[in-house]
Amino acid sequence: MRKPRPFSEKAFKIGIPRSFFYYIYPGLWETFFREIGIEPVVSRPSSRKTLELAAFITEAEHCLPNKLFDGHLAEIVDKVDMVFVPRLLSSLKGHISCPKLSTLPDAALAEVARERDVLCVDINENVRPLSKTLLELGRKLSIGKRTVRSAIENAMRAMKDREAELDQRNKAKTKGKRFLIVGHPYTMHDAFFSESILRKLESLNVNIELMSFANNDVPESFIRWCTSNKMYHKLTTISKGEYAGVIQISSFNCGCDSMMIEIFRNILKEKSIPYMVIILDEHTAQAGTDTRLEAFVDSLEWQDDSSSVS
C-alpha cells in the first residue's frame, strides 16, 4: 500500500465512508480528523442513490452493508485527497470482527479506491486500546504528538457524548412493556435500513427501544464476534416482563446473523419472548416489511387478549 503523503498546509480533505466503522465508533472519526486539522468529508447518508452507485461496482454476494460501503466509497473517493478505510480486526477486547471488516481496505484498494490514497490503520482491541490506535493514525499523518493526544481526548469524549445521545434517543418513549430492536450498529443505526421499520412500528403504537452498543464491559461467551456477542449478552439478560417482543434487523447474506439467528431464537423461546427477524436486501419492498410487522404486532395482541380472557 502506498504511504500516504503527509498532511500539508492547504485544506486537506479526508473522506470517511458512512458505513461499518462509522457506526461502530459513532462521532469518533470526524472529531479526530477535525481536531488534528484535516477536514473530514463524510459521505451522504445511505439512500437508494448509494445503492444504485454500488450496483455497478460492488460484489453481488456481499451483504447489504458491504454493498453500501462500496457505494459510499465511490461517492467520495474523487472528491477528497485521501479516503479513510481502517482495517477493523476487533472492536471489543477478547473478540474478533466479522472477517469482511478485516479485508475492507485491501478490497477497496483493489477496485473502488484503485490508485487513490487510502489511509488505513489496524483497529485491534486485542492488541492495543483505541487510544493507541489513534496515536498510530496521527503518526501516519505526521502530526505532532501533542496535537494528536488532545485530538484523541476530544474525539473519545465526542464518541461518548454521541453514544449517550443515541441511547437517549433510542430508549423507549414510555414506561411499560416495549419491543426491543436488535441488529448490528451499521444496520440498526443506518436510517436506510431501520427508518421505515421504526416508523411503521411507531404508527402501530408500539413502544420501541433500540439496543445500546455503548457498553464494552460485556462478559465473554462462546460467541467471538464483537457485535454478535453484545447482542447475545443483551438477549440473555432481558426478561419477559420488560419486553413484549424482539425484532432483529438483519441483512441478506450476513454470515454472522445466519448462525446467530438460531441461537437467539433458542434463547428467546426459553424466555417465551416472541422474536422476529427482518432480513433486508436491495429488493426488499416496503409493503412486504409493513405486512410482516403488522402481523407480528397483531398476533401478540391476540395472544395478550386470549390470555387475559382465559
Binding site: E61, K100, S102, D106, F222, C254, C256, M259, I261, I263
Partner: protein
C-alpha cells in the same frame, strides 16, 4: 463394531478413515455427500446457513438414522462461521431427537477430549496416524497422476477408472507395507492408460473454500468436467500442507502460512479467515508459474471468500491470469456449472491462440 461418521473431505476421507481402527471405531463415511444427505441437511438447517453446514448436518442425520453412534468434526478458532457449526449441529440433532454423540477435534490440548474418550493404546495410535499420513501422500500421488493423465487420455473415462481402482485399494490396505507397495505400483498403472502426448492441455488451478474444493458432490465434480475438457487441474487444498500449517510444522512444507502470507501481502495484509489468504496467494503463485487460469470455488455467501473476490479480480488483471469465480448453493445445477466451465476453457484457448499468434508476428518482425 461401533461406527463413527465425519464430514467427507473428498478422497482424503480414505486416509482419515484408516486412523479410526486404533480407537475401536469403523468409519461410516464416503468421499462425496449423497443427494439424500443433502436433502436432509437442507430441510433441517437454517435457510441462510452456508452450504458446508447443510452438508455436515445432512450427513450426520443420515448417519444417525442408520444407527451410527458417534460423529466427529473439526474445531475452528478462525473468524468464519465454522466456529459455530458444532453448537448448532448439536442443537439441531437434539431437537430432531437423534441420539448421535458429536465430538469435535482441534485446538483442544495435547490429549483432546475425543482421544481421551476412546483412550487408545499409544503404539497402535501412533502406527494408525503414521498410516493415515502415508495414505494422504499416496492420495496426492494418485490425484496428481489423474490430473496429468485425464486431459491426455484417448478413451474418456479410463483415467477415472484407474483412479477409483487405486483409491479403492488404498481404502482396503491396512498396513504401511501394503500402502507403500501400492504407492510404488501407481505410476505404472497410469502409464498404461493410452494417451495422446501431442496435446498441450491448459493448466488451471482450483482455489477457494475447503468443502467445495474437495466434496465432489458439492462442486459437481469440477475436476472431472475440466479434465474431460482437456484441462490439467491442480487442486490447491492439500491436506498434508493444511495439517502441517495447523501444527506450525515447516519441514517438508512448501506452502507454509508464512510463505503464502508473504506472497499475498501486496494485495491482502491479513488473512480474512477461512482460506481467503491461500486463495490470493495461490493465484499469485500460479500466475508466476505460467498457469492459464484459475477457478475460484466457494459456497454462496461464504464470508472470507466473497470478501477477497475484488482482490482476486485485481490480481487477475495485474498478473494477466483469468480467474473464474463460482459460488455454489443447494440450487446450483450441474448443467450451469458445466456451461460456465466450457465457456471459460474456450476463452482460455482463444487467449492462448492470440498470444502465440502475436509471438509469431513478433518473431517474424
Amino acid at each position: 463394531m461401533t461406527h463413527l461418521v465425519f464430514p467427507n473431505l473428498g478422497n482424503y476421507t480414505i486416509a482419515l478413515a484408516s486412523d479410526l481402527s486404533c480407537l475401536g471405531l469403523e468409519a461410516w463415511v464416503s468421499t462425496a455427500t449423497s443427494p439424500e444427505a443433502m436433502k436432509l441437511g437442507i430441510e433441517a438447517a437454517p435457510e441462510s446457513a452456508c452450504l458446508p453446514f447443510k452438508a455436515h448436518l445432512g450427513l450426520f442425520i443420515e448417519a444417525a438414522n442408520a444407527g451410527v453412534e458417534y460423529a466427529l468434526m473439526v474445531n475452528s478458532i478462525g473468524a468464519c462461521r465454522l466456529r459455530y457449526y458444532r453448537y448448532l449441529l448439536e442443537k439441531i440433532l437434539k431437537d430432531l431427537g437423534l441420539k448421535i454423540h458429536l465430538f469435535s477435534l482441534g485446538y483442544d490440548g495435547v490429549k483432546p477430549p475425543f482421544i481421551r474418550y476412546f483412550d487408545p493404546d499409544l503404539l497402535p495410535f501412533v502406527k494408525s496416524t503414521v498410516l493415515a499420513f502415508r495414505k494422504i501422500k499416496v492420495i496426492d500421488i494418485i490425484e496428481l497422476k489423474t490430473w496429468r493423465t485425464r486431459p491426455l487420455e484417448i478413451s474418456p473415462g479410463n483415467t477415472s477408472r484407474v483412479m477409483y481402482e487405486c483409491l479403492h485399494e488404498l481404502n482396503v490396505s491396512k498396513t504401511s507395507k501394503e500402502t507403500m507397495a501400492l504407492s510404488r505400483a501407481i505410476p505404472a498403472r497410469f502409464s498404461a492408460i493410452p494417451v495422446d502426448k501431442g496435446r498441450n492441455p491448459l493448466k488451471i488451478g482450483l482455489i477457494g473454500e475447503v468443502s467445495v474444493l474437495r466434496d465432489k458432490f458439492l462442486n459437481h465434480n469440477v475436476e472431472n468436467i475440466l479434465g474431460s475438457l482437456g484441462v490439467e487441474v491442480r487442486n490447491f487444498f492439500l491436506l498434508g500442507a493444511e495439517i502441517r500449517n495447523i501444527f506450525h510444522i515447516e519441514l517438508g512444507n512448501k506452502n507454509t502460512r508464512k510463505y503464502l502470507a508473504k506472497l499475498a501481502r501486496p494485495y491482502l495484509k491479513y488473512g480474512g479467515g477461512g482460506h481467503a489468504l491461500e486463495s490470493v496467494a495461490h493465484t499469485i503463485r500460479c500466475a508466476h508459474e505460467g498457469y492459464d487460469g484459475m477457478v475460484h470455488l466457494c459456497p454462496a455467501g461464504c464470508m472470507p471468500e466473497i470478501s477477497v473476490r475484488p482482490i482476486l479480480r485485481r490480481v487477475s488483471l495485474d498478473m494477466d491470469i483469468p480467474v473464474l469465480q463460482c459460488s455454489f448453493d443447494e440450487h446450483t445445477s450441474s448443467g450451469g456449472v458445466t456451461t460456465r466451465l466450457e465457456a471459460f476453457v474456450d476463452v482460455l484457448l482463444e487467449r492462448r491462440k492470440k498470444k502465440s499468434g502475436s509471438e509469431k508476428v513478433q518473431k517474424e518482425a
